[in-house]
């Protein structure tokens, strides 16, 4: 099995890549919202808003240094709601 340091060293670049993709997705969303405006009464827009809220909540879970349970489980349960 890998040591704690090895876990970081072997996966850092891949994790960096995935976080950059999420950052770009959120920037892309904000740019599109600024371009086209929001449509609060639209059903598709509200479904998208719920998914976006779930993503933001998930990022909060990832930032916890000492979570009460596994982060993966918490995220799977969170995403099951949307």
């Amino acid at each position: 099995m890998l040591s704690a340091e090895q876990v970081v060293e072997t996966s850092f670049l891949e994790a960096r890549h995935m976080l950059l993709e999420i950052a770009a997705l959120l920037d892309r969303h904000d740019a599109a919202a600024a371009r086209t405006g929001s449509r609060p009464d639209d059903a598709r827009a509200s479904a998208a808003a719920a998914k976006l809220a779930a993503l933001r909540e998930a990022l909060g879970v990832l930032g916890e240094r000492e979570p009460s349970r596994e982060r993966t489980v918490a995220l799977l349960e969170l995403f099951a709601r949307v």
Binding site: H17, E21, A24, R28
Partner: protein
């Protein structure tokens, strides 16, 4: 769709890549000189490498109907040996005379040391003296922002034709100063460590397509020449027209590389014929 891959390290790739690129519409590749994975010790090693990319590799690409062009340089990672750099630079003019060599590249910075900056300046100077194009590598990851600033500082102190200089591997934090200074920029698409296809399209949507080149690099490390096609697919999926895609992925390379008359592939436009269906 016709595609040009403007930064491609063919000697590190298989013939199967050429075949699949040809089947996907790639009509030309341009191969900058790069690091071999270890520091070379002898000028002759570079000379043979330059012969390989300027004489042999075009024949390999031609078997698949792909035009192959190249660049010559001492890689920034090897610039800590100034004697070697000076010796190799003396041979550049004989390669500038080759029919498919487009200029000097990829020069640039890795750790932004004094020796690297001196080597960059010497590379750009010889390119300008001989009317050649320049392709500049910017550092990876943590060194990216600082190294790009140093590249711009070195260039600002020189008499360069900015239209003939391409600063490669720009990302979100480095694109604006390079474009604002009047240079061409390149997005390099890597599976993990550089720009991604989606982020490249984000930047195209934010900055427009003028003076922007998109490439896969694709070398002996974790890389994939088809990240370029992935980027084209993402661009088209977001609703950009075929002609807009051609402007970015075919015509822009023609415009930059075509400043050297050896690169004779011209920009193209799609037209619908006015014929009625049968």
């Amino acid at each position: 769709m016709q595609i040009i891959q403007p930064h491609y390290h063919a000697i590190a790739r298989t013939a199967q890549d050429y075949e699949r690129m040809a089947m996907s519409g790639v009509v030309a590749v341009a191969e900058p000189a790069f690091w071999a994975g270890f520091d070379r010790l002898y000028p002759e090693t570079f000379i043979d490498y330059f012969r390989q990319i300027s004489e042999f590799e075009p024949t390999r690409a031609a078997q698949y109907g792909i035009r192959h062009f190249s660049w010559v340089a001492v890689n920034p990672k090897e610039a800590e040996n100034p004697t070697l750099t000076r010796e190799v630079l003396k041979h550049f003019p004989e390669f500038f005379a080759k029919p498919t060599v487009l200029g000097v590249g990829e020069t640039g910075l890795h750790k932004s040391t004094k020796n690297e900056c001196d080597a960059l300046e010497a590379h750009v100077a010889i390119a300008m003296q001989h009317g050649q194009l320049v392709l500049i590598h910017t550092p990876h990851l943590a060194d990216k922002a600082h190294g790009t600033r140093r590249v711009l500082e070195v260039l600002a102190g020189m008499n360069v034709d900015r239209d003939r200089v391409w600063i490669d591997h720009v990302e979100e934090q480095t694109i604006r100063p390079c474009l604002d200074a009047g240079y061409w920029v390149g997005f390099t698409l890597y599976p993990i460590t550089k720009c991604s296809p989606k982020r490249a399209v984000d930047m195209l949507e934010k900055y427009g397509s003028e003076r922007i080149l998109v490439n896969s690099s694709a070398d002996w490390g974790p890389s994939d020449p088809f990240t370029l096609q992935e980027c084209i697919l993402e661009y088209r999926r977001r609703g950009h027209s075929l002609q807009e895609a051609i402007e970015v992925f075919h015509n822009n390379p023609c415009r930059f590389l075509g400043q050297n008359p050896k690169f004779d592939i011209r920009p193209i436009r799609v037209e619908t014929l006015g014929e009625a269906p049968a």
